[in-house]
């Protein structure tokens, strides 16, 4: 859990919503206000409030024009874009990540673009920014839409702008455990009028939609809380940056834990603190370190998901649509190779089982306790 509090105007605004009797999100109410506030805070033309980041990712993939027979390039370290792609009956493809910061490699993205590609989805994983200017260039040259997954990246600077404003669409999460939360919720940003129209066209309708749509809109209660939290979130992130620094100090002093590289021009909106286990080079067994971390009583984790998302059966077997084969197997519209072979993203496969993670959305004092625990585990693994 983060350090976020809900003791400000949240209750006042929620009472206002309930007194109004209009609980569904609407443009004259808190939904409209929170959309305007996000657009202004990020300096973009449009902000679209939804009931979840996942809903907005699904809508964004739709807005990018992906459908049966099309491809969407995804990040192999997480599965959310690939799931969004399946919802549009399209096929996920994958770009590898860098070995020094676990973020999408623009050259891998370029190499994997095909005539079927409609979008690239990149993740600013755990609060560090992708090279989103280079990714935007790749997307523009290919004529595809760049969707930035900013679920871990609220107010995250990259060069002279925040992430979420470099791509064609940026999607932020307000679910529990994110930098700012409303329980569930999401915000999509775009400067593109047509993408804004297309996203809105499938996330809400009253009675008879002109095409396939559903209801993914944000409620007034959610928007009321979001509006207040938006004013507080930069303060939370500032504290998390201090916590990150405390943890980073321990890792930078260890010869066999590799820090994530924060490159020039890159900010940090810490979400999960992550480093890479390299102890095998020093004769330290990963299982020994795992046990040492566990015994500290703090919340560490080694291995994250162990394997890239393309090894999940959701993507390797024809199960997404009632085992009928769509969209990955025997799809009459898809002409590419639908097998995801081992070695598809070698760097992702290499680093995933060795990632050492811990939550760093904690107060600095708590981070000092976690850092002490990490130091103890390092010493124990080294036999000291």
């Amino acid at each position: 859990m983060g350090i976020d509090t809900f003791d400000g105007k949240e209750i006042e605004y929620l009472k206002e919503v309930l007194a109004s009797g209009r609980l569904a999100g609407h443009d004259e109410g808190f939904k409209g206000k929170v959309e305007s506030a996000f657009a202004e805070a990020f300096g973009v033309k449009h902000a679209i409030a939804g009931n979840a980041a996942m809903s907005l990712l699904i809508a964004s993939v739709y807005a990018a024009g992906a459908g049966a027979g099309d491809e969407v390039m995804c990040d192999p370290l997480v599965q959310f874009h690939a799931i969004s792609t399946l919802w549009q009956n399209a096929r996920p493809t994958w770009a590898d990540v860098y070995a020094d910061n676990w973020l999408m490699d623009p050259e891998s993205a370029r190499a994997n673009i095909t005539p079927q590609t409609k979008a690239i989805c990149c993740t600013h994983l755990w609060g560090l920014p992708c090279e989103v200017d280079a990714l935007r260039k790749v997307a523009d040259e290919a004529g595809v839409v760049l969707i930035e997954d900013c679920a871990h990246a609220m107010f995250l600077p990259y060069k002279d702008k925040y992430v979420g404003t470099w791509g064609h669409i940026g999607v932020f999460s307000l679910c529990q455990g994110k930098h700012m939360t409303t329980g569930d919720g999401g915000i999509a940003l775009t400067d593109d009028d047509e993408l804004d129209r297309r996203i809105r066209s499938i996330i809400a309708f009253g009675e008879s939609p002109p095409h396939l749509a559903t209801v993914f809109r944000m409620t007034e209660m959610t928007a009321a809380v979001a509006l207040v939290q938006l004013e507080k979130v930069k303060g939370y992130i500032e504290e998390y940056r201090k916590s990150y620094a405390v943890l980073e100090e321990v890792v930078s002093g260890c010869e066999w834990l590799q820090s994530r590289v924060v490159k020039d021009g890159c900010g940090n909106s810490p979400y999960i603190f992550s480093c890479l286990f390299q102890g095998d080079e020093k004769g330290i067994e990963v299982e020994d370190f795992k046990q040492a971390l566990f015994e500290t009583g703090e919340n560490f984790n080694i291995g994250f998901t162990q394997v890239p998302a393309y090894k999940y059966k959701l993507f390797t077997q024809p199960m997404a649509y009632q085992n009928k084969g769509c969209p990955l197997h025997n799809c009459p519209y898809y002409e590419g190779d639908y097998e995801y072979k081992d070695g598809l993203c070698p760097t992702a496969e290499e680093i995933l089982p060795r990632l050492v993670n811990t939550n760093c959305m904690i107060a600095e004092d708590d981070a000092k306790r976690v850092a002490d625990a990490l130091s103890r585990a390092i010493a124990q693994a080294e036999g000291k």
């Binding site: 984790n301 291995g303 994250f304 998901t305 090894k311 999940y312």
Partner: protein, 76 residues
């Protein structure tokens, strides 16, 4: 292993089996079942922490299925 202070295959298997049988299940239920079936007494916080470690397995792993709801999933 008689407690949850160390990671071990036996306790991991026990927890996976309980969750698989009762899913979706709360950590509190898992704690009760560990005590009832194996005489393994542990604080709720310790059970939750142990279960969190079992989220990083592949292909079988524990997963959250909503607030304090746990399931076993097979991703492979």
């Amino acid at each position: 292993m008689d407690d949850l202070t160390k990671l071990c295959d036996e306790n991991s298997d026990r927890i996976m089996a309980i969750v698989e049988e009762l899913q979706p299940v709360t950590a509190r239920q898992v704690r009760e079942e560990l005590a009832c079936r194996y005489g393994l007494e542990a604080e709720l916080e310790q059970v939750v922490r142990y279960m969190e470690w079992l989220r990083s397995g592949f292909p079988r792993k524990l997963a959250h299925a909503g607030p304090d709801a746990w399931v076993v999933i097979d991703l492979g």
